[in-house]
């Protein structure tokens, strides 16, 4: 019997709460809008995400992030991915190095278009590969709504450092992401994206000290043979607060296919 919406949600909450209690990370939010509808059963995905930040202040300049991911739609409602995280912290003389491995999970709760809003849940665990850097876990709610020729997606996240190097005084951090996309055609469609990191949820800093990025993105896909497609995203995000780098280039390449 197919699992109901509430059944999937209850399963998710219990599983994540149990795992969070067992595992003792700076879970890093990718510049990646997550859709609750991206569950393609039996499809494989090979993905690369990247970002590079620029700022006049040398201490805030040069942060980069690269990920290599492999994922698969295991069921019609669960999509896990395994990700290798490579990156460079902002500032001079910082090395580019492997920073960790992340296990991502997207859970679809509702059929696309069945209700007023499409709903999904997200959970990831990050294992740091760097000394004295904590591991991390991140939970999220994914929402999406089609409106005529546009699609609007909202992600709300809570993340926490865990493991032996965590700061015991630091609670959950709140972050969010938004995308409004105009579905012009499959090869190239424009969108606007917002990424924000508000900080510790019970001790929010003033707005100027929070991270906020806004900017245009171009998305599309091209077929690869008779089965599968290559998807791309390319965008420039402007820093909207003093705490945010002035500009961030982000990109994504994904090949999805069926064997």
């Amino acid at each position: 019997m197919p699992m109901t919406v509430f059944g999937r949600a209850k399963w998710f909450v219990r599983a994540v709460a149990a795992l969070a209690a067992l595992v003792p990370c700076a879970a890093r939010a990718d510049f990646h809008i997550r859709s609750p509808d991206e569950i393609d059963e039996d499809e494989w995905e090979f993905e690369h995400n990247g970002s590079a930040s620029f700022d006049r202040n040398p201490l805030n300049n040069g942060e980069t992030s690269y990920t290599l991911e492999i994922g698969r739609g295991v069921t019609s409602w669960w999509h896990p991915e395994l990700e290798l995280d490579i990156g460079r912290n902002a500032g001079p003389d910082q090395p580019t190095q492997i920073q960790g491995v992340t296990w991502e999970n997207t859970f679809q709760l509702t059929e696309p278009g069945e209700y007023w809003l499409d709903l999904g849940l997200y959970w990831e665990y990050s294992q740091s590969t760097q000394q004295e850097t904590p591991n991390g876990t991140l939970f999220g709610v994914l929402m999406q709504k089609d409106w005529g020729p546009t699609t609007h997606t909202l992600n709300l996240f809570l993340d926490k450092d865990i493991g032996p190097n965590q700061d015991d005084m630091h609670g959950f951090d709140f972050s969010y992401a938004w995308q409004s996309r105009w579905n012009v055609n499959r090869y190239a469609s424009p969108a606007v994206e917002i990424y924000g990191d508000a900080g510790q949820i019970n001790r929010l800093p003033r707005f100027a000290d929070q991270q906020l990025l806004i900017g245009p993105v171009l998305l599309g896909s091209v077929p690869t043979g008779t089965s599968g497609q290559l998807k791309y995203e390319l965008g420039w995000l402007f820093g909207a607060t003093a705490a945010t780098p002035q500009g961030t280039l982000r990109w994504r390449l994904e090949w999805e296919t069926h064997f």
């Binding site: 969070a20 278009g113 926490k160 077929p223």
Partner: protein, 113 residues
């Protein structure tokens, strides 16, 4: 743990409210069949301006994926099974779709009137 669960509940409340204040109301049901890696019919008239449910039945022995960028839908149809695709309300016009696993043969168009 208590703080985490209460925070999670806070996030769940608005999502649940938005989700269940308006259901699909998809009274119209349309049918599409996949056979020999082709959609039947390849051109299907559907109502414009209302929500409707498209039932896609796969009569082949291998899976197919109903996909359409214009409709923003991508859903695998297992062999021998039928899946619902909730659509609309659509403006009048044509909305192409294809089978991602057999793109050279599985193609079609929904015509919203």
């Amino acid at each position: 743990m208590e703080h985490f669960l209460s925070t999670l509940r806070l996030l769940a409340i608005p999502a649940a409210f938005l989700l269940f204040t308006a259901s699909a109301g998809a009274d119209d049901v349309m049918h599409l069949t996949i056979k020999d890696h082709r959609f039947q019919p390849e051109r299907l008239e559907v109502p414009a301006g209302v929500k409707f449910k498209l039932l896609v039945k796969n009569e082949d022995s291998t899976p197919e994926e109903f996909e359409s960028f214009e409709l923003n839908r991508e859903k695998v149809v297992p062999p021998g099974q039928e899946i619902p695709v909730f659509l609309g309300p659509l403006d009048k016009g044509e909305y192409p779709f294809f089978g991602d696993f057999h793109q050279d043969t599985a193609k079609g168009v929904l015509i919203a009137k």
